[in-house]
């Protein structure tokens, strides 16, 4: 059977809306003009409207229903995409976000008419401060990367205020790509500290790197290898000694939330990814939310406006009078609709439930690692936290790459793990089961991974030819980049 393409029958692949389009067909339905018509002002008229598709509402519905069914989500199956924390997204949070009292609020409404929304943010801020050990939070950053840049600009404002501008920010070689990219955009230079044999920050190297020109260090803990930086105290001391600040990339907070707080590890600035820690749906690429929390001494630099509470009048309001603020980083108040969902997770799970998130996430990752490590050795010896990085190196000799393993897993009904990240691991397979998956799912996935390992030896072509059960098979990415076709 090897390689033989599966014969496909049934409905053909959906055409594009442009292909479905017929002149004069329409879905739109708008109110009648009930006032005198108006001419488009002189010299501003567009000769003809843009050539958008012309389809009926039924065309739209079938088109997008087909497309949705061609998309794999957490609601359709296990999604162990490392570093992405694809956990179950509660439907109750969706119901909450859909309430007109949240969904139909205009961002320019006066504060008196949005007290409920402001109280929600206030409560959520208090909770995030408790979870991070920080003093205040800004909700403006719409995603993690935006939070990073916001944090780095705060770092910059802090040093500027102290009349001691600095030029370098240290990041580990295992850092996520957004870290170095954010460092550059903040006007800093990246200084990369290597990982040691354990996959942790090489403390000796770090000690050598730190000096008065170092603005700070960005760290993910557990790091992107899924390992806890056990020397975090020493790391913090080293950076603080030279007057640098510690930035915590919260992408992996879900491993330790409720047990270990960035503030208690010495971090000064923290961003959270609500879609990772608090189960807000990722929407096929976004929206997210990247609230940034800071310690007391950095509070003054938070983007304005900052949420405030007037004790006497028992009223919430936006405080715009923030002379040291770095300025706005988002047009309005951030991804409010996403924050409503995060609120639902935080207060739905509550005190013990939040601590349990890490416990279950770490248990699942360790159990799964245990089940598969025989065939997929871990990249580093240490105990994995919420995710583990294994390597498919040994399949090289059969001409099989990590990507082939991933594609074959698709044919077995699973979304593959993250591949080729972190970059410092050859043929990396980064597996993150999250806390919401059951043992049965992990067992089934482990079995599939082991089957693929066997197949890699016995029938490598089967892997190289995978996937064979999807609407399309392997796509020519080189051609896509060469013969750019980015629109119809």
């Amino acid at each position: 059977m090897t390689g033989a393409p599966v014969r496909r029958d049934g409905p053909p692949l959906p055409g594009t809306l442009r292909e479905l389009s017929r002149p004069g067909r329409r879905a739109w339905s708008l109110p009648e003009l009930d006032v005198p018509p108006a001419q488009v002002p002189e010299g501003h008229r567009r000769p003809a409207p843009p050539r958008l598709p012309e389809v009926a509402e039924r065309d739209l519905v079938r088109h997008y229903t087909r497309l949705a069914q061609m998309n794999y989500g957490v609601d359709t199956g296990f999604y162990p995409l490392g570093s992405c924390s694809m956990k179950y997204n509660p439907k109750a949070a969706e119901a909450a976000a859909a309430l007109p009292g949240f969904q139909r609020l205009h961002p320019h409404q006066p504060e008196d008419t949005v007290q409920g929304a402001l109280e929600l943010l206030w409560r959520l801020e208090r909770a995030l401060c408790e979870l991070t050990g920080m003093a205040r939070v800004t909700f403006q950053p719409p995603a993690g990367a935006s939070g990073e840049l916001t944090g780095l600009l705060i770092m910059r404002a802090y040093h500027a205020k102290n009349g001691d501008p600095r030029r370098r920010v240290i990041i580990p070689d295992s850092a996520h790509g957004t870290n170095p990219a954010s460092v550059t955009l903040a006007g800093y230079r990246v200084a990369q500290v290597p990982s040691d044999a354990r996959g942790l920050v090489d403390l000796g190297e770090l000690e050598k790197m730190v000096d008065e020109d170092v603005a700070g260090l960005m760290l993910t803990n557990p790091n992107t290898l899924g390992l806890f930086e056990e020397e975090i105290e020493a790391i913090a001391r080293a950076v603080h000694r030279v007057g640098g600040l510690l930035y915590y990339d919260g992408a992996n907070l879900n491993a330790i939330v409720g047990r270990v707080r960035p503030g208690d590890m010495g971090f000064d600035i923290v961003h959270l990814n609500t879609h990772k820690t608090f189960a807000t749906p990722h929407g096929g690429g976004g929206p997210g939310a990247g609230p940034v929390a800071v310690s007391e001494r950095l509070e003054r630099f938070l983007p304005a406006p900052v949420l405030a509470y007037d004790e006497e009048r028992g009223r919430y309001y936006w405080d715009h009078d923030r002379p040291d603020a770095i300025g706005r980083v988002h047009g309005f108040h951030g991804n409010f609709g996403v924050l409503v969902r995060a609120y639902a997770y935080v207060f739905g799970l509550g005190r013990d439930g939040l601590t349990d998130v890490g416990a279950r996430a770490v248990l699942n990752a360790n159990y799964l690692a245990e089940r598969v490590r025989g065939a997929y050795p871990l990249a580093f010896p240490g105990r994995p936290m919420h995710e583990f990085v294994a390597t498919a190196r040994r399949f090289r000799r059969f001409g099989v790459r990590a990507l082939d393993v991933a594609k074959r897993l698709i044919d077995l009904g699973f979304h593959p793990p993250t591949v080729y990240f972190p970059l410092i691991v050859e043929e990396a397979l980064m597996v993150e089961p999250t806390e919401t998956e059951s043992r049965e799912t992990l067992d089934a996935f482990a079995q599939a991974m082991l089957q693929v390992a066997r197949e890699a030896e016995e029938d490598p072509e089967l892997l190289r030819q995978a996937p064979r059960t999807t609407p399309v098979r392997r796509l020519d990415e080189a051609r896509a980049a060469r013969e750019l076709k980015l629109r119809w």
Partner: protein, 464 residues
């Protein structure tokens, strides 16, 4: 609520499989000193019924756009969101998926984004679009970075008619030192003729501008072109059924707040940043871009492409740091644009234009307010000057059931309010707004508590 599915037996056996006896053993290597060592100071778990009751109570403490008649604008608008938009974009296979790293499992969202990009190009008259950015203002920042990268220059001319929120955001990110915004003065409510020197990377113009006025964009952009600077336009996507496209006007890069495209007001987010440009700048574009290709059997398919631009490959030399974007909002925008089609888009434009014009005329007829720039052409939004303090007038109108605003400071120091009129507003609502303006003017800007929040409803007749 609890979503971890582990039974006690599961936990025991899974720990055993790891050679451990308690969950705490999993954290044994975490230094004691950094552990919290106490319970979180948070309330206990809420059941789903209690949680939703709590959230319904919070939502109930807000007044929303169905509780009053919404004439507010300033970057977010009460355009109609067709029922079909979120019935489709909200499908869980889209909502619960991640960025499409495995294209064979993600053709749905990939094709939806390819079609979004295509429609953005149709709309703007430009050649390439990405798969969305965070919002309008951050999209402008990315556009400016593109211009700097393309020209190797740092200076950015920014019109004084740009929405101040956009300027604030631009200034914030300028701290990184990559560019330097310089403001262009305003004359008669539009951008004065700027000095565009050889050192200028970009000329940034909002058209229709923050005050609603239509700009002499083509003329201004011509100056930029002559100086080898990029012409950057902030546009209103729903104006492009009737107004000349950015491409036609000579814009090299066009960015917009995508909220009007089928996205809910949602107190300012999640929205989406729309960005389109000319082909020559495609490799400088930020964020995800979807491209068409074929599979091993020659079937058409879609993938994320030009990834060499992005942070996960290019790291500190990436065109941007963006990773997560606003994909789901882009899918909604695509459904909405296809729902409108060319005729619907033109019709929305005609309705906004005519209703805004009608409102401005009636308001001035009755002398309730003055237009900031009488006779200046506008699209769906215009600025009025009020005798009383604008905030007071805004609040007094809200007591009568109408939300206008935001309050604005005009370039010449006068103060007023923005009024915007979407296709949803009826003649009756406009007439009642005018009456409310008159009452408030008569009361010298002070409002009475009378009929707080009801006006819109009471006389409503259309359930608002």
């Amino acid at each position: 609520m609890r979503f971890a599915p582990h039974t006690d037996e599961d936990t025991r056996e899974m720990l055993a499989a790891c050679g451990l006896s308690s969950v705490e053993d999993l954290f044994a290597h975490v230094p004691p000193a950094v552990r919290l060592g106490r319970d979180l100071d948070l309330p206990p778990a809420l059941s789903e019924p209690d949680l939703l009751a709590d959230l319904r109570a919070l939502a109930g403490r807000n007044r929303h756009a169905d509780d009053f008649v919404c004439f507010a604008g300033g970057g977010a608008y009460d355009h109609y969101v067709p029922a079909v938009v979120w019935a489709l974009a909200g499908r869980s296979e889209f909502a619960t998926s991640y960025t499409p790293y495995q294209p064979e499992l993600s053709q749905g969202v990939l094709q939806a984004l390819f079609e979004y990009q295509s429609m953005v190009c149709d709309l703007t008259g430009l050649e390439v679009s990405n798969a969305s950015l965070y919002d309008g203002p951050t999209a402008l920042v990315e556009a400016v970075r593109m211009a700097c990268a393309a020209t190797g220059r740092r200076r950015v001319l920014v019109s004084g008619t740009l929405d101040p929120r956009y300027l604030e955001v631009l200034r914030t990110y300028a701290a990184g030192g990559a560019f330097e915004p310089v403001s262009v003065p305003v004359e008669e409510g539009v951008t004065a003729v700027p000095e565009v020197g050889e050192e200028v990377a970009a000329l940034v113009l909002q058209h229709p501008n923050f005050f609603g006025n239509l700009e002499p964009a083509a003329e201004r952009f011509a100056l930029a072109a002559r100086a080898g600077a990029r012409a950057v336009q902030v546009f209103d996507p729903l104006s492009l059924g009737v107004l000349t496209s950015p491409g036609e006007l000579g814009a090299d890069i066009a960015v917009a707040e995508g909220q009007p495209l089928g996205n809910h007001l949602s107190y300012g987010g999640p929205y989406l940043g729309v960005l389109a440009a000319r082909a020559r700048d495609v490799r400088r574009m930020p964020g995800r871009i979807v491209g068409e290709t074929v599979d091993v059997e020659g079937r058409r398919g879609y993938v994320l492409t030009l990834q060499a631009r992005e942070q996960h490959i290019r790291r500190e030399r990436a065109t941007s740091n963006i990773c997560t974007n606003q994909t789901l909002m882009a899918v909604a925008a695509a459904v909405y644009l296809a729902w409108l089609g060319p005729e619907g888009l033109a019709e929305v434009g005609r309705l906004c234009l005519a209703k805004a014009r009608y409102a401005a005329e009636r308001l001035t007829e009755v002398g309730a307010v003055e237009l900031a720039w009488p006779g200046a052409p506008f699209f769906k939004e215009f600025a009025v000057v009020t005798e009383a303090e604008p905030r007071a007038v805004r609040d007094a109108l809200l007591e009568r059931g109408f939300l206008v605003g935001p309050p604005v400071e005009l370039p010449d120091g006068r103060r007023g309010l923005l009024v915007s009129v979407t296709e949803r507003r009826t003649r009756d609502e406009v007439d009642r707004l005018v009456k409310a303006f008159e009452e408030v003017a008569a009361a010298g800007g002070k409002g009475s508590r009378a009929g707080r929040g009801r006006g819109g409803r009471r006389a409503g007749g259309r359930g608002r």
